[in-house]
């Protein structure tokens, strides 16, 4: 078991952000974590990383309690926040000073990823663009080769080439046995590489779907008219008509679209496949 959370609860003051999260991630792969703004994506990730302690409930990551911050867990986990603090050093110096903390840190991979990302390894990070800085941070995160990689909005600031390189790096990470959880609003940018998607809504895990199961369970159709009254599907206005989503086993003629499915689950309240069976 990689992550197990039971009735996880966290509040800022009196405002609960996580309100009974139940979660099981059993297998390695790439999981997308989606939620509306302020619904607790970052809080959940920090709780997994042991940087924030839950107010109630329990969470186990790689078989250990993250809030105790055991060394063994910290060496097997890397969390890249959306706005990380990085010293104004060159990537080479950063790797030299912070890489040794991670037993599996691969300096060769770090250099190669930077080269692929077109980041100068000897240029200090205060003299490069935001996108370049983000690429250097991602390269470091990927080079740690930790068993669990938590990435918060990793594609922010990346250009099209950068996103493509990032996706390829993610695939090579999962091939090396990494479990990667990505919190993002931009599902379409990482959809091609996702194995699972987690939907966090109103402080709870609203849906936890394996992508291959979801592709079989939901059908997408492009129509020229909105759904008739009484139809239990979800329709999203798209150029040229409506993209509909149904969970009733009907045939589909349109491609699987993760963002539309996310809307269908959160706004349309479409039924979910058996979550226990899919994970």
């Amino acid at each position: 078991m990689i992550i197990t959370a039971t009735n996880l609860y966290h509040a800022y003051g009196k405002k609960p952000v996580l309100n009974g999260v139940d979660l099981n991630i059993r297998r390695a792969g790439i999981t997308g974590l989606c939620a509306p703004n302020g619904e607790g994506k970052t809080t959940l990730m920090k709780t997994m990383a042991g940087l924030q302690f839950p107010t109630g409930g329990s969470i186990e990551v790689l078989g250990q309690c993250p809030s105790e911050r055991p060394l063994d867990l910290l060496q097997r986990l890397y969390y890249l926040p959306s706005e990380p603090y990085f010293p104004k050093w060159t990537p080479r110096k950063i790797a030299a000073y912070y890489g040794p903390f991670y037993p599996n840190f691969n300096n060769q991979l770090f250099i190669e990823t930077l080269r692929e990302f077109r980041v100068d390894i000897d240029k200090t990070l205060d003299k490069v663009s935001f996108g370049q800085k983000r690429r250097a941070q991602l390269a470091f995160a990927l080079a740690t080769r930790t068993q669990l990689l938590l990435l918060d909005e990793p594609t922010t600031g990346l250009d099209i080439q950068g996103k493509d390189q990032f996706r390829r790096a993610l695939i090579s990470g999962t091939e090396a046995g990494q479990t990667i959880i990505i919190a993002t609003h931009l599902l379409s940018e990482i959809a091609p590489v996702l194995d699972h998607v987690l939907v966090l809504n109103e402080g709870k895990i609203d849906a936890h779907l394996a992508i291959d199961v979801a592709e079989r369970f939901y059908s997408f159709n492009l129509t020229t008219t909105a759904l008739p009254y009484g139809d239990k599907g979800y329709a999203r206005r798209v150029p040229g008509g409506w993209l509909t989503v149904h969970a009733d086993g009907r045939a589909g003629d349109a491609a699987f679209d993760l963002e539309t499915l996310y809307l269908a689950l959160t706004d349309g309240r479409l039924p979910r496949p058996d979550m226990k069976a899919t994970n």
């Binding site: 302690f53 890249l80 990380p84």
Partner: protein
Amino acid sequence: MDSLKRIHLACRAAVAALAPSTYFISTGILMLCCISIRYTGGSEDNSKGVLRNAYLSLDPELVYNLITGCGWLAATIISGTIVKRYFKEENQGIHYLAMPLSNPERFATSLLMNWLFASIVSFLPLFLICLLGYYLSPDYVLMVSPLEHAEWLLIGPLLHLFTLSFWLFPTVAYGKKAGFVIVAGIIAFIIYLTNTRGRMSDRVSLKYDYSVFDANDVVGLHRSGAFKKELAAAFQIPDLLTMQMVLTGFAIMLLFLVAYLAFTRKTV
């Protein structure tokens, strides 16, 4: 990798992340103090001071107080800077104490950085300046060799360790709860000062004693007629005391900053 190696790596990373100005904080504070108490600028009547080639006697206790006070303040600022960065990184999950370390290793690193490193960087330059001043100063500057009072090097860091234990470790370990204790401690200290130092007069009453002052045959007192007229002798609070109060006020502000950091932590 063993624990010592990880502690070494953490300290190395923390030292590398410090700004170069860190190494000059204590020297800067000492210079400011010297200027403000006019060691270099001369006395009020402009007859003394290093810059005026006039006779100057540096009392050992004064030098001791300066080294301890300036060093302690510098060490507190450095520790505050380190802990501020720690909280920042803790929230953002990168580097230094957020890196993979066991809790004892994290504590050891914190102790080494905030106490040993901060003390060395704060007190050693002051000691060396005094030593240099002793050997290079002209004859009209009278001061004792700092080597004769090498225990200053230990007293300052111990004082820093004492105050550090009051605010740093509880803040890291207990977060918000420590914030309440720190604020309560500061308030108690202010109340104590108000009830003690605040009531202190800058004039001291000397008891008029006829048996002494009327004795004209006592050597040294036969021309002290003024003593009979004055019921109280003037007692000037030294500049250093004022400086100490300013430094104390500044330190309290730093502690409030630390308490704020403790309160705004999200982990506890």
